[in-house]
Symmetry: C2
Subunit: 409 residues, 2 copies
């Protein structure tokens, strides 16, 4: 049961002029459901992406990087679920390239105008023939308003599709941003996420788009963790079709940029939080805010250490205010000169630890009250600077074990 994650309504997902989406079933996902998505972009679209830092990155990630680096226009992307095409060596690379060639052929564009994505089981050969055979069907299914079926076709252990939209106005013109993402396990993005795609009809210069994708990932998908496992296939891609009739945004300044940037960050954060809300076995959504650190890096380090502690996560699952476990995690987060008598801890509005020890007015019943909520904020003050960072995570339940003990069976 996802945590406060309403099922997206198709009518709330606004088509992005310049983008079409088609889905089909290629028989790669064991369930027989739709498992292939093709997105095509009008000529003139700009595309930028960030990808996993996992050294065992999947073959399609390697191909995406090469195609984006070629400075050629990107005209389509293809995603399959059910198989990650990772840990597949040279054969895997060939399969990813063959997929691009096949789709390029059907669209009458070169193979390096295509970005391939895969998600699913690692270390098993991609059934590339089935994928290629399904491409004509996916193309035939294309429409501007297929964002919801697109979100459904890329799911793995997700219990719900994840999609959202924003509409803003720039120079009196409506601008749309719509995005989808997937992921529920093996989630600890490192400079990227599982799969996230956001498209807009705003015209954004290619160089600026490339800056934006990194900046936005750092404020959204790079702030989440479910189990601390960085995937082999993480990717976050921004598509700007430029179909809207406003002047191209070329620099990170000015009213139009700020308006667009705020909408983009807000959408990316909503999508990233959807992944946590649908975290494998999650029963609670937890915000971890670490403040008064020397720099953002140490704040993130402490926040992630708390977010990854199995003891902290099981205490949240049990609604047990066993909050010493949070102090222990702060203590082993690797800040060697941390003065613990400067550390304060709050659970929502409850002051739990003051100057490194139990707050004199802290009552177990107050901790208990907050722990029973479905959404909880852990706030840590390190008392050594002015930097801060947030991480969003979930608890660790019996269902997490069940889901991951039976993922392939």
């Amino acid at each position: 049961m996802p945590v406060n994650l309403p099922f997206p309504q198709a009518t709330q997902l606004r088509p992005v002029p310049g983008v079409q989406l088609g889905t089909t079933a290629a028989g790669i996902h064991k369930s027989g459901r739709n498992d292939v998505l093709v997105m095509t972009f009008d000529q003139g679209s700009h595309v930028a992406g960030v990808f996993t830092q996992n050294r065992f990155c999947a073959a399609p990630v390697t191909v995406c990087r090469a195609h984006l680096a070629s400075d050629q226009p990107i005209r389509a992307l293809v995603v399959n679920t059910g198989n990650a095409n990772a840990g597949t060596g040279a054969t895997g690379l060939t399969h990813a390239q063959q997929t691009c060639e096949a789709l390029g052929h059907l669209l009458n564009v070169p193979a390096h105008n295509i970005l391939p994505f895969s998600t699913g089981v690692i270390l098993e050969p991609l059934p590339v023939t089935r994928l290629i055979d399904a491409l004509p069907q996916a193309l035939a299914n294309r429409a501007h308003d297929h964002w919801l079926p697109a979100a459904q076709a890329i799911m793995t252990t997700d219990t719900q599709p994840k999609a959202a939209s924003r509409t803003i106005h720039i120079d009196g013109q409506p601008i749309t941003l719509t995005g989808i993402c997937k992921g529920a396990g093996m989630i600890r993005p490192n400079m990227a996420t599982m799969l996230g795609f956001i498209a807009t009809d705003a015209p954004i210069a290619q160089a600026l788009l490339q800056e934006l994708v990194k900046q936005v990932a750092d404020q959204s998908f790079n702030c989440i963790s479910i189990d601390g496992d960085t995937s082999t296939n993480d990717a976050f891609v921004l598509i700007a079709t430029g179909v809207a009739s406003i002047s191209e945004i070329t620099t990170a300044t000015g009213e139009a940029y700020i308006c667009f940037y705020n909408a983009l960050v807000s959408l990316a954060q909503e999508l990233a939080q959807m992944i946590v809300r649908d975290g494998e076995g999650a029963t609670k959504f937890i915000r971890i805010l670490v403040e008064a650190g020397k720099d953002i890096s140490e704040c993130r380090q402490v926040a992630y250490t708390i977010a990854h502690s199995p003891l902290v996560k099981t205490a949240f699952f049990a609604s047990d205010p066993n909050l010493g476990r949070i102090l222990a995690a702060i203590g082993y987060a690797g800040i060697h000169d941390l003065a613990i008598d400067q550390v304060n801890l709050w659970l929502d509005d409850v002051w739990v630890a003051q100057q490194g020890g139990r707050h004199p007015h802290y009552q177990e019943s107050d901790g208990q009250r907050v722990m029973q909520q479905s959404e909880i904020t852990v706030r840590v003050s390190l008392g050594r600077g002015t930097a801060s960072a947030s991480v969003w995570t979930c608890d660790f339940s019996h269902d997490y074990v069940s889901i991951n003990a039976s993922y392939r069976s």
Copy 2:
């Protein structure tokens, strides 16, 4: 159910001349069972210890460090379970000091000749009066052959006491080494372990004993992880009473040293592995061997990343050869220049991945056969050097969640 961990027989635990052990119930542990251990050492004993690197180290750890640094003889130690006296600020320090003063008074030695230890719940005040009131009873209970009740009195979520002995001969004289330890959760020792105590009647010079305790911890308690959570209270202490009539061992050379060192490492490894075998909810004992690395540090880093991955651990629980999860963990272990086409992976005798991809002869049924065993070796070759490192860990089961979701209730 611990993994291949026989209940220790009292008759197999050999008394160490110069060491006496007494236990009692102080009413600190909620069960009402024995929860206090006092060990006393004959005059002339040498004692050395290593402690947690957690910045939120417990009050007794701070006191132990100060007392060991004072270069005064250590004549006794006192351990309570049921309360960690961690996250307790200045009051916690006072409580630990009061405990030493009370025991010192009873033994007619200064307070800084005593080492205090606590284990249990963090962030709750130590019931120091109950502890002090129980000390005379614990002293009265002392005997040379109370190693088994001592191991039982320091248990927290352990399902079994952990204790073992070695006898060696040096210069024709029998030398005994006996040790106990505890710990089943919050286990990822960093330069130390939960609580481990090994005593010997061999005469070992103080300076050498201090070197030995670090060296042996690195080869035993520092090679284990259950959940990746470094405790606030880890401590590993070596006691050498010097009662045996052989010449004092003063340097890390010579036949007597080598004989003693081998027995000590073997005993410490057995005790450390007992902690993993009794890991919270463990159903499998897993050795992770990472070899052909550039240095030991990167081998340990990769081994711990595999050992801490919830996805790898749940796959072991399910006996599911979802071995791509191991490759993913290797890939995000933080070796930024790792060439994945040099990486090989074996599960016991089964060659799973060759040069970064699935081995052409790897059969799922072979992986399945090994995964069903209760003891499994994961061997990774990084193909970039000659260093290697081992880590011992366990799987991640429903029971881990149950135990930690109800630890305090």
